[in-house]
Symmetry: C2
DNA sequence: TAGATTGTTAATCGATTAACAATC
DNA sequence: TAGATTGTTAATCGATTAACAATC
């Protein structure tokens, strides 16, 4: 099976969330590509292509089986597995993410579990955010190795994020969810997913300026 | 001048941040497209095209004047103007964004200022987050009209976000920075910028699954 | 001048959309 | 059967990259 591209993965996630939302409102057995396309404002052909890419087959005149679609996406994207992760940076944003990760409707339903929080700030170490005690950075590497953790979430200031990244990679981390507003350098087998929130401001400011 | 596309705006923002970061470390008068390209891992031609799109001209054998580049981007993207905005939803994420918006190194340097926070939750109303007092939703519309606010930041649960959006649009808002994990419907003159953080999880989970 | 860098045109690449036969 | 929907191939569109003459 060919490796799925980023845009496809993102659309699959949207389909998945849409179906979860729709079935929560009212149960439904099947859905057509046109219905999905309309709800998400994209082309129906695109939807069929994407669903085809995860091995799904629709039924002529009926559409796709909702349960099958959800199951296929869940398996293809890996939501059926459990990913333990560490959060680096116990600031406001870290706290917000941790709050989401905690309950079942949050990140947990995609398999993500934060098992520890680390920070350099002495005033934060020992404190609690969302059930977890903030630990000093020096305990980071041993814990990652001991629990074979492969994902780290970065919510620290830009200045220290590259140095931290190097340490995380050395410790064995294979994916970094980067909320620091900076570009990170990593080996080719490590994935960095950037969530540079302020990038969105460019579009907003430009629109409001017009 | 042709309207700039989203990808171009996002890259311009990256150039801007990169230059801010680099000049903070050590002052520099000029920079080449190759230097920018290498730092951000993109093609040098792309950089020259983008800078050309904001009216900049480089100098043969020298590159671009750093100050000129920053100034042109700042003006083109509208960072030199001031945008008053309201934050809807006084939860963890709202608090995190507000914390960023407060100080000078945060959103303020892009012209964004949050002037009020609203929430439906009675236990939150009257409380303070980052210097601002949380206000009840019914005060939202009058305030938006009175101060001619054109931007709203949405950090509320998905269930109520469409209804809130309709009210915001009626009140006169022209751009919505949407952190709710849901698709919003708005008139064509209103911009919605989605920051669906969990979309990033699709890429991460897929990578870790391999 | 020689050489590095720009600016621009052309070529490539990939993603989206259109068309339509196959299917239920 | 008739008609709606899929799955696939072809066409379009846009974005990225390559090539190279012009410039300082």
């Amino acid at each position: 099976m060919e490796r799925l591209r980023r845009v496809v993965l993102e659309r699959l996630m949207r389909y998945y969330r849409l179906l979860a939302e729709m079935t929560a409102k009212e149960p439904m057995a099947t859905i057509t590509s046109a219905q999905i396309a309309e709800a998400l404002d994209i082309d129906p052909t695109q939807v069929r292509k994407d669903l085809g890419a995860v091995g799904l087959q629709g039924m002529g005149r009926v559409g796709f089986d909702v349960c099958e679609v959800c199951r296929a996406i869940r398996i293809m994207l890996g939501f059926d597995q459990k990913y333990e992760s560490v959060l680096i940076g116990a600031g406001h944003l870290g706290g917000a993410l941790l709050a989401y990760s905690g309950f079942s409707a949050g990140f947990a339903r995609y398999g993500l579990h934060v098992v520890a929080v680390f920070d350099n700030d002495r005033s934060k170490i020992g404190g609690k955010i969302a059930e977890l005690t903030v630990k000093p950075m020096k305990e980071m590497k041993p814990l990652i190795k001991r629990r074979s953790i492969r994902l780290a979430i970065l919510t620290i200031p830009a200045q220290v994020s590259q140095e931290l990244t190097d340490r995380l990679v050395t410790a064995g981390v294979k994916a970094i969810w980067n909320f620091s507003p900076t570009q990170l350098t990593v080996p080719p087998d490590v994935l960095v997913r950037n969530e540079h929130i302020s990038v969105g401001l460019s579009e907003i400011a430009y629109h409001l300026k017009q």
